[in-house]
Amino acid sequence: MPAVQETIDQVRQIDVDQYKYGFETKIEMDKAPKGLSEDIIRLISEKKNEPEWMLEWRLEAYQRWLTMDEPSWARVKYPKIDFNEIHYYAAPKGTTGPKSLDEVDPELLKVYEKLGIPLKEQEILAGVEKTKIAVDAVFDSVSVVTTFKEELKKAGVIFMSISEAMREHPDLVRKYLGTVVPQSDNFYATLNSAVFTDGSFVYVPKGVRCPMELSTYFRINEKNTGQFERTLIIADEGAYVSYLEGCTAPQRDENQLHAAVVELIALDDAEIKYSTVQNWYPGDKHGKGGIYNFVTKRGDCRGKNSKISWTQVETGSAITWKYPSCILRGDCSRGEFYSIAVSNGHQQVDSGTKMIHLGKNTSSRIISKGIAAGVSDNTYRGQVSAHRKAENARNFTQCDSLLIGDKCGAHTVPYIEAKNSTAQFEHEATTSKISEDQLFYCLQRGIPEEAAIALIVNGFVKEVIQELPMEFAVEAQKLIGISLEGSVG
């Protein structure tokens, strides 16, 4: 059955023409010359005042990258990227690293104010804002400010830009960097390893529950730049952290490249909750401009009973190529992936997840909702695999797609691989096999099945989205209401 009017209206509200964050800010920038070479990498490393081992690591990655081919398996089409036409480093003049709020260029603060990002600690403390969030603001290639650092420090939580962490906590960075996404993991991750300029670093020590939400806000501002950030989050034994990421960019006719790497590590009994509201500029309605979002995100449930949960709300980018994954290495570890991906105009989305079950009694859950409108293409691509020794691995996958109009496409490409007889995998793309108990509960209270299913799935997503601060959740909130009516597997 076709989509209901309510849904069509809601999707229209977030159409590519309605992009609100397309403004550009005139700020004097310090840029590296265009192009990629060993010299540029040395320059980036020098600007960041990095230790020698880091530079070697970057150069090694660069050498590997030169031998690699761009992946072509994803269901996305775009003209060939000229990697020598990009500035690999661009920072607001005078910024050598994050400092206290008072020293930050007021122009920059205005940008974040306009975007609705709370950077002013005083206001937040004074109760103007309801929720308390620590923010790391990344502007083009550098982190300009990180809030609430002191307060977090008292709890023992390290939250700072990764360049700062490399100087202040080199041992921690060295121990974990590249252990989840190796240097030569894939074409874009390798490029990122060579040229990443900034990103966030989080370390939550043993037994600590991070006292507030942590977040990073990425903004691409400068023309012809690429943003290559790297985020590394470590939750030590028994720790808990919730982290969220937001991103926007100005409206431009050229395509810009964003190739990030995110690594999560959860040790015994630790839990990491990672949420993304991806709202890069999607291009105009003729498909001109927009961000190429080629991102590698992976979490490693390294310890027993650890848990990693990915939540993503994808509305932006001209092209999205992104598969947040979980390696379930520790026994009894758990991975979750909740995704809402909306494509409109000429957007192309190829996104999904991988759940790699290695340990015993591991479980994972995938809920993916793709909504395609305009002339866009929306693909779910996922992999669930159980290793020979992954006894009692358990997975539940559900992916629904909704098409609005007859010029768009929705595709599902799941890979299911079981090498253990005790593994129990269920892949559902029909709307009938949601938790039978919950469904039965709703039905016997007189709620029709379609409404009950929508209620359960939306309730599920809502649970996570409600924990996002309001500023990030505006787009997400609109999507929650979208019903599952007329959805196809």
Partner: protein
């Protein structure tokens, strides 16, 4: 990577090319057929057998898995065996020579060798795409088969059994079959081997259903434990045509059964049922693609796999819904019982949808035997091995029971399944 670069040929690739070279001058065909054969073998030589890098062969790396190919031996065809359903009309193929006997009214058949010789086969010999390795091997080496036609309005009373029995060596056969408007038939395509020597079989069946045709097509693959079977079914469904394809794999060491079809007439319906019984060290791959090209077409697929020992099972299913194909209703499900920790199963159920008013869904499960069901039987005094056998049997038998209109056929197929399970469970 430069695709033009010559690859180092594996032993199997060399054997296939050698088989072709050795038979030049002997393989039937007119000028056009022979030149197409040349092209296909040349492509095989340059591209090689597909590896896991070719997406449609992701889980069946033919280049690695196909270690050896026995040499062609024209005397390798075995004698005809009794049909599995008593009273069935049997057509057998021996060394490409169709063994034609008196056929029921409305059914005509001629040897495919004749179509190769007079050139009428050339259009059908083309491959489906650059990844169509089965079409390529078969097109290069095919010697014979049967060209069958069921006339308009004819309803065949007894099932038709097409037998391809092989003792060793190679067999490459083709079966273009057309069903006239309003015709009705049940056909069993049976591949079996008569002894334990390795054989290599490729077979392509091309089904065309005209308006309102109603066909049950059963593929019963019972090759020997060291055989390679590469099968392909192509089908095209006309207006209101109904095709019920049944695939039973109960043999072979390396098996790939492809099904590629189009629902090109409004109101057409495809039902696919698959039972894959896997044991030993075998590798069995069922790959299915269906394109819904026009509005108001329906399809339903259910695949059941039972995997023992060190066997590997693969199911790839892809449903495409074209932009105009509104009101398509497609459901695909794949359920697997993984009964050994050394066994292995991979599935890739894909949907590619371009129309917005459709109902499409797919489901896939991989599980062990339900412990509560097992406990129930055990608590009633049934020994464990017997209880397990009962549950496994029930898992696949319910699919066969859908053919309830023909009791003798259901009984025969259940017999094949039970016999296999008794031997392996």
């Amino acid at each position: 990577m430069n695709m033009q670069q010559a690859i180092k040929m594996t032993a199997a690739e060399t054997a296939l090319v050698d088989a072709y070279t050795a038979q030049i001058g002997d393989l039937p065909g007119d000028g056009a057929v022979l030149s197409l054969r040349d092209t296909l073998v040349h492509e095989l030589k340059t591209a090689g057998l597909p590896t896991r890098r070719v997406e449609s062969w992701h889980y069946t790396d033919l280049r690695t898995l196909l270690r050896a190919v026995p040499s062609a031996d024209p005397s390798a065809f075995a004698d005809r065996v009794e049909p599995i359903v008593a009273g069935a009309t049997v057509l057998s193929v021996r060394n490409g020579e169709a063994d034609l006997k008196s056929l029921p009214e409305g059914l005509t058949a001629r040897s495919y060798t004749e179509s190769l010789l007079d050139g009428s086969a050339v259009a059908g010999l083309a491959v489906l795409g650059s990844d169509d390795a089965i079409g390529r091997i078969n097109g290069g080496l095919v010697r014979g088969g049967l060209e069958i036609a069921v006339a308009e309005g004819v309803e065949l009373e007894a099932p038709l059994e097409i037998q391809v029995a092989q003792s060793h060596g190679q067999a490459h056969t083709r079966f273009p079959v057309s069903f006239g408007p309003g015709s009705k038939a049940t056909v069993l395509e049976r591949h079996l081997s008569t002894n334990g020597d390795a054989s290599f079989v490729s077979s392509v069946t091309d089904l065309t259903l005209a308006e309102g045709a109603d066909v049950i097509w059963i593929i019963l693959q019972q090759q020997g434990a060291s055989d390679t079977h590469l099968g392909q079914i192509r089908f095209d469904l006309g207006k209101d045509a109904k095709l019920h394809v049944f695939v039973i794999n109960a043999g072979g060491k390396l098996v790939r059964q492809e099904l590629h079809g189009r629902a090109s007439g409004e109101g057409s319906d495809l039902t696919l049922r698959g039972i894959n019984l896997l044991g030993g060290e075998s590798h069995t791959d069922v790959t299915f693609t269906l394109s819904h090209d026009v509005p108001h077409t329906t399809s339903s697929e259910i695949i059941r796999n039972v995997i023992f020992d060190r066997a590997k099972g693969v199911f790839q299913g892809k449903i495409l819904v074209a932009q105009d194909a509104q009101k398509t209703d497609a459901k695909m499900s794949c359920n697997t019982l993984l009964l050994s920790d050394d066994a292995d199963f991979s599935a890739k159920p894909e949907l590619e949808i371009f129309a917005d008013d459709v109902q499409c869904g797919h489901g896939a499960t991989v599980i062990d035997i339900d412990h509560t069901q097992l406990f129930y039987l055990l608590s009633r005094g049934i020994p464990e091995n017997k209880a397990r056998a009962m549950l496994v049997n029930a898992f696949v038998a319910e699919i066969v029971e859908e053919l309830e209109d023909d009791e003798a056929l259901v009984e025969a197929l259940e017999g094949v399944i039970s016999a296999w399970l008794e031997k392996h469970a």
